[in-house]
Amino acid sequence: MRHLIDILDFTTDEIDALLDRADDIIANPEKYQEVCKHKKLATLFFEPSTRTRLSFESAMLSLGGSVLGFSEAKSSSASKGESVSDTIQVVSAYSDIIAMRHPKEGAPLVASFRSGVPIINAGDGGHFHPTQTLTDLLTIRREKGRLDNLTVGFCGDLKFGRTVHSLISALSRYTGIKIVLISPDELKLPTYMKTDVLDKNNMSYRETTDLVEAMKELDILYMTRVQQERFFNEADYIRLKDSYILTAKKMESAKEDMCILHPLPRVNEISVEIDDDPRACYFKQVACGKFVRMALIMKLLEVEA
């Protein structure tokens, strides 16, 4: 039995196969509409995340399966002090697969030790969010036709952004990837990510504080939100926040086939005027998220079309 806790649990061959399956689901959805008939997905969301939960539930329903679960800890036995291990042993008696989000880092790993059914980590605090990374990889591959030989810019909060860390880790296994890290000094990529991932894998990277300067070389621009609470004082936030808002003006120097990604929700870091630009891929990315989750559920349940 396999689980997905960290994106690196899967080899690149397995990821490629998952993305192939997701492509096929997009091309032939009717072929897959009953492959999980009579199977049940439990969505255990110990902290709310409507978007991710709906994506999982929509994925299972599109495979012909059913869903059950809870959307916040207070409507579960966790509020009575039940441990993750106990909750999981109970729920695995009611379901065939579990997608779990938890505010504490490592909770899905604990769940995987005691579960009788596959566990999917749907986000554990600021730690991992592997299905977001699968979503990002599928979107990049569909838009660019490849996952190697790309220059990928990450912009905004690179210090706390777990989606950024996971995607960089996942891309580190492909060849010819150049990373451009665009952020204020306060929100630079943590040193351990540079030493343990970028340097260790001999990845080419550079850091800059200037989005416009970096724009022209990028194949992919991965935007994240710069949150006010990350700054020590309001003055710094006000001084910097507009530098990391993507506008039509800043897009002038971008390549014609550059692809803009964002894990969403967006607040104001991508101006709405960009939404009509064909290079804006963040809503396509949401759709990819559902299809790649369908492929993942099939893989972990070991069902075929």
């Binding site: 504490k104 604990v110 554990d124 730690h127």
Partner: protein, 138 residues
């Protein structure tokens, strides 16, 4: 100073000076009833000074813990008054309940019954990380 030789047990040798009491605490040797000697600042040709612990009982000795504390430690196994085995330690791949994860966001911070498990992720720099949250052991 005269300390009796042990008959059946262990001589934990080449302990860095000052570390013997820490090892005594971590291995919970206070629970033992047998003869036990802690020798501090013994003369060592190799180290200048060293600590030694002698335990006159064949207990279950956690070599992983000792290896984590100091891979330079040697463990001599004594049977019938003779050294029958000399074990050189190395950094263990995994240690359980030796150090605690201090990350308040880690699942171990709220689920008390969970083992605190750390994995060796960088042997050269002696880096251990929590298996749950990947925080570096301090």
């Amino acid at each position: 100073m005269n300390i009796d030789s042990i008959k059946n047990g262990y001589v934990i040798d080449h302990i860095k000076p000052g570390m013997a009491l820490e090892i005594y605490r971590i291995l919970d040797l206070g629970r033992l009833d047998c003869h036990l000697a802690i020798i501090k600042n013994a003369v060592s040709g190799k180290m200048g000074k060293k600590d030694i612990i002698k335990i006159d009982e064949m207990i279950e000795l956690d070599l992983n813990v000792l290896g984590y504390i100091d891979p330079g430690i040697t463990v001599n196994v004594v049977k019938n008054g003779e050294i029958v085995d000399k074990r050189h330690l190395e950094l263990p791949e995994k240690i359980t309940n030796v150090i605690k994860c201090k990350n308040p966001r880690c699942i171990t911070s709220c689920e008390q019954e969970l083992d605190h498990v750390f994995k060796l992720t960088d042997r050269e720099n002696r880096v251990y990380r929590c298996i749950y949250c990947e925080s570096k052991a301090k």
